[in-house]
Amino acid sequence: MRYARGIAAVLAALGVAASAPAEVVRETDPETGLVSWRWQGEALSLELVQRLPDQSRAFFLGRGFERDNSDAIAAACIFQTILRNEASGEGGPTLRVDLNEWRVVRNEKAVPPRLEKQWEPRWEETGASQAARVAFRWSLFPSRQQFEPGDYNWGMIPFGPGPGERFDLRIVWHEDGETRRGVMRDLRCAPDVADPRKEEPK
């Protein structure tokens, strides 16, 4: 009950092209203060969960990155991302997702998320270890992936804006070859604080 009271759920209708109306549920975890946004479409569901910069910094330091590289990843607005094909059984649609088609919209500019390929020159330049690179690659959400009914995946997506900054996210997916689009509005990167519950309201 206490948990339920602590969750602030906001339902917002979204404009979705070529698909039935979807909705986004925004929740704040009362224990961590972290915010998540969950999109539920017909077959595709998508959940984005804030990760504190400190979480990401510690994760990548523990997997062999030097401090500068860990700081750079941590500051890149990482969300834990869970994408699922909710269809079940044979005959359900195949979903195809290419994150290169997604856009982070902020200050009237739209850019793709900072995907794995964009980080590789930095790893080369700084001599990041093989172990660190392997960990980075496999902890990120795959840039391109196909989801059969019942398939799902977890992974981090670095969206790019700085800690605490807000943005809209244009998402694109392909459902049995048909392109679907949607917009998730007013997402916020986790602030660079130890405990978001104690952050000053903005």
Partner: protein, 171 residues
């Protein structure tokens, strides 16, 4: 704080998995591509080659200790393994990019009896059509990939295990 975060994430995936419905599926690959062979060491330094298991169905799971759905499905893999270990079915769990010490600590909380293989540099994983973790393949006794599961599954589900059994029962 960190423990609360981890518990929250695990609770979320558990709830979501339950809410997502009971029907589980393995995606059949009709073209049945040949499974890339590999030789990897387990936690005790023993080598395992996929080709050693020719004549059996092999469940090949790619995972990492830090991956929440990998942790979530691991106990069910052990329970599933207990159901099929005396049949012509093998289970190999290929860890991507971690050390034996990291896996050793992990198995204190997630004890399993099937081989945990170390793909330290990720090169074996690169040879397989793996996009994210966990991904699991079922290889038939002729060494062909027949099924794929992207994301975790409840591997003690009789419906899933029956699909694997069908490969050694002449399916």
């Amino acid at each position: 704080m960190m423990r609360a975060l981890i518990h929250g994430l695990l609770a979320a995936v558990l709830c979501w998995g339950a809410a997502a419905g009971a029907e589980q599926t393995l995606t059949e690959l009709p073209e049945r591509p040949p499974a890339p062979d590999f030789t990897l060491e387990d936690m005790d330094g023993n080598s395992h080659s996929l080709s050693d298991y020719r004549g059996q169905a092999v469940i090949v799971n790619f995972w990492a200790t830090w991956c929440p759905p990998c942790r979530e499905e691991m106990p069910s893999m052990q329970r599933g393994w207990e159901q099929v270990r005396d049949e012509d079915i093998a289970l190999l769990a290929v860890n991507v990019g971690e050390t034996a010490d990291q896996i050793f600590v992990f198995t204190a909380d997630y004890p399993v009896e099937f081989p945990l293989l170390l793909d330290r540099d990720g090169s074996v994983t690169d040879d397989w059509p793996v996009k994210g973790l966990p991904t699991t393949f079922v290889v038939d006794p002729e060494g062909r990939i027949v099924y794929r599961a992207v994301g975790g599954r409840a591997w003690d589900d009789p419906a899933l295990l029956d699909q694997v059994r069908s490969l050694v029962d002449g399916g």
